[in-house]
């Protein structure tokens, strides 16, 4: 593999981690969705680049799905939902920006240490891709934990899935069945979420998950 191929793959995967950090501190839903669209866009570019250098044309399908569904359709639809719900102005955070960023840095360091150590024999592209992918997955998890709003939790989940797609495409020659299923499951997940948001709105007049927490636990 020539140097420049490697560098570009590296650049794209690294950008994905950085954009995950950007998502972490957005305090408005609108800008969060825009950043998520960028996340998906970079993912599409990264997958397309992998398709090119691995000479694996089926990966273009995955890239196309990332581009069309994740970077365009889903952000647009979520935009509409939040406007209709009238919650596009603010985000509530459970944890402040500072601690969240610090925790994020810690998680990235953790995934680098873990992945680079155990994959010493794997080829360098795959192993660094995997390390980046794990970082994106963990940052997505962190975002789900630090947000209270159902929409931003969903965005956290979707960026987590982006990390999984990055890992799946970085693993050279992984069968198509998985990539399609990943994309497909995101689609299903989105439908599920759409239904949920609709119902949550219908019942609670809010999508703040804290409202749901009131009903948890035992019947008293």
């Amino acid at each position: 593999m020539s140097g420049i191929d490697f560098d570009i793959a590296h650049l794209l995967a690294g950008s994905l981690v950085l954009i995950s950090f950007l998502e972490l501190y957005q305090d408005r839903l609108y800008s969060l969705l825009n950043i998520y669209a960028l996340h998906a866009l970079v993912l599409a570019a990264s997958v397309a680049w992998q398709a090119l250098i691995q000479d694996a044309p089926h990966l273009y399908v995955t890239a196309g799905i990332a581009l069309v569904f994740k970077a365009i359709v889903i952000p647009v639809a979520l935009h509409r939902i939040i406007v209709r719900l009238g919650i596009h102005r603010e985000i509530e955070k459970a944890v402040g920006v500072g601690p969240a960023m610090l925790a994020g840095i810690g998680l990235v360091a953790l995934s680098m240490v873990v992945m680079l150590r155990v994959t010493q024999d794997a080829d360098p592209l795959a192993r660094e891709d995997l390390a980046f992918a794990l970082s994106v997955v963990l940052l997505g998890l962190l975002m789900m934990v630090t947000r209270r709003n159902a929409v931003s939790q969903v965005v956290g989940f979707m960026s987590l899935e982006n990390g999984l797609v990055l890992a799946a495409t970085g693993a050279k020659g992984m069968p198509l069945v998985v990539e399609i299923s990943v994309a497909f499951s995101i689609l299903i997940a989105f439908i599920v979420i759409g239904i949920f948001l609709f119902r949550i709105r219908e019942r609670f007049d809010t999508v703040d998950v804290r409202e749901l927490d009131r009903f948890r636990g035992e019947r008293r």
Binding site: A168, V192, E218
Partner: protein, 484 residues
């Protein structure tokens, strides 16, 4: 028809019948007919599953039937069949009281068959990617069914289940990718490197560090679906707020399917001498779940939540047994899993009807059940006695086997195990007293229940506690050997 044709028809039937039934149930309007169709489909699936014992198709790169998953498929389709009978009478009552409307019932029946399809697919999958897809599908269908009542509590439970389930599933996918990464240098690129039969035969040459890491992710991911503490948070809510037939299927079947996925990867790791031993991890999580859930039984006010915690407790015992490994512990684990599935679903059949006649799930609002509804009350008592692990019922047998085999190898662990089991037993009996005896409380209208599924399950558990046919013992011993 030749023998081979029967075998491959059996496999095709296990997958195709639920899929076709789901499509039909989604479009047919009449709920009486659809409830019957649901039972019919479950019956046919059971027949196909049983036919797999008499001949099975050779494994291909996507599907596989061996002794291990044959056992799971038989159990899944059997409980799926009995639950469909219970579901028919349960749903009829829900329609009468107006908790569910006909369109929702149609949706419910279609989802029931999609769930059966997804679980069967997860069990017969020979490709670890396909298995993951199937478990994801099963998760999504159960999320939809848990939220079907659209009450505050149901939505909250479904949302929690969805978020925690998806995170678990995501971690499991990452683990699956890592297994592929470990396999690729040895097997080469493509489908073969995700094919379970190929993976196991070549596992000795895989990079052990990658396999270790993969198993950690798989354990956390699928472990969430098994309901192992501390990843269990979704389970009590999902059980309590969904329709009771779904609680029965969740506890009796879906947890087993996730456990089956874990067991497959455990076998894979065991085939690599340099990889970490997966047993101790499972033993730790199992014991933690057992002791934690046992104590949680005491403060429960909701009857379905009570039995949900009891499921966590028993999944802990099962994970512990499989984690200990060896022919006797594996045998005990398999037996315990079977007995738990049958008993717990029988209990949920009883609980479903009890909650319907009493109009509540609060334990404080139901009492003296043996006086107002003797058949239901005594059925529930028998179920609780069975699940608490008292002789002569089947769960006593399997728990006894787990405990004695552990005492021989790790006495300290056995003490914790016995402690957890006893704490759970006392907790269950404390509640049993309030539910079944004492001053009758709440409405005492006659239940329109189908008792057959409940008593059929309990009869099997009772008989299994006294006598297990030698053929079945030999079969379980064989599967236990496979598990290593």
């Amino acid at each position: 028809m030749t023998f081979d044709a029967v075998a491959s028809n059996g496999l095709a039937g296990v997958l195709a019948i639920p899929a076709v039934a789901a499509a039909l149930l989604a479009v047919l309007p009449d709920y009486r007919a659809t409830a019957r169709l649901n039972v019919l489909a479950a019956t046919l699936t059971l027949i196909c599953a049983l036919s797999l014992f008499f001949g099975r198709p050779p494994p291909n790169s996507y599907l596989l039937v061996d002794d291990l998953n044959g056992t799971f498929i038989a159990l899944t389709t059997f409980v799926g069949f009995t639950t469909s009978i219970f579901s028919a009478s349960y749903i009829a009552h829900e329609l009468e009281t107006g908790r569910l409307t006909p369109p929702f019932v149609r949706f419910y029946h279609a989802m029931y068959q999609v769930l059966m399809f997804a679980m069967n697919l997860a069990l017969v999958a020979n490709n670890i990617g396909l298995m993951w897809v199937a478990i994801e599908l099963a998760t999504l269908t159960t999320v939809l069914m848990v939220g079907i009542y659209r009450t505050h509590e149901a939505l909250e439970a479904a949302w929690k289940y969805f978020i925690l389930g998806s995170v678990g599933i995501a971690l499991a996918l990452f683990g699956t990718i890592l297994v592929y990464m470990a396999a690729r240098p040895v097997i080469g690129e493509g489908l073969d490197a995700m094919e379970w039969t190929v993976l196991v035969s070549r596992a000795g040459a895989f990079d052990p560090a990658l396999l270790d890491l993969a198993f950690v992710f798989l354990l956390l991911g699928y472990g969430t679906k098994v309901g192992l503490a501390p990843l269990h948070a979704w389970l009590p809510d999902a059980h309590a707020e969904g329709p009771t037939p779904i609680s029965a299927v969740l506890s009796g079947l879906l947890l087993n399917v996730a456990l089956y996925a874990l067991l497959r990867f455990k076998i894979l790791l065991a085939a690599n001498a340099a990889a970490l031993a997966p047993g101790p991890l499972m033993v730790t999580l199992g014991l933690l779940s057992l002791v934690f859930a046992a104590f949680m039984l005491y403060r429960r006010r909701d009857i379905k939540r009570l039995f949900a915690y009891s499921s966590i407790e028993h999944m802990g015992i099962i994970a512990f047994a499989f984690g200990m490994g060896g022919p006797i512990a594996n045998f005990a684990g398999l037996l315990h899993m079977t007995m738990h599935s049958l008993t717990k679903s029988a209990i949920f059949f009883a609980v479903g009807h009890v909650a319907q006649v009493k109009g509540t799930q609060r334990i404080a609002d139901m009492g003296g059940l043996t006086a107002t509804h003797p058949v239901l009350g005594w059925g529930l008592i028998l179920g609780i006695i069975a699940i608490a692990g008292l002789p002569p019922l089947g769960i006593f047998m399997s728990e006894f086997l787990v405990v004695t085999s552990t005492f021989a190898r790790a006495p300290l662990l056995a003490i914790i195990l016995v402690f957890g089991i006893l704490v759970a037993l006392a907790g269950l009996f404390l509640r049993l007293n309030g539910i079944a005896f004492g001053e009758p409380r709440g409405p005492s209208a006659k239940a329109q229940a189908s008792y057959v599924p409940m008593f059929a399950h309990l009869a099997i558990v009772l008989v299994a506690g006294i006598y297990i046919p030698p053929a079945l013992v030999a079969w379980f011993q064989n599967v236990a050997r496979l598990l290593g």
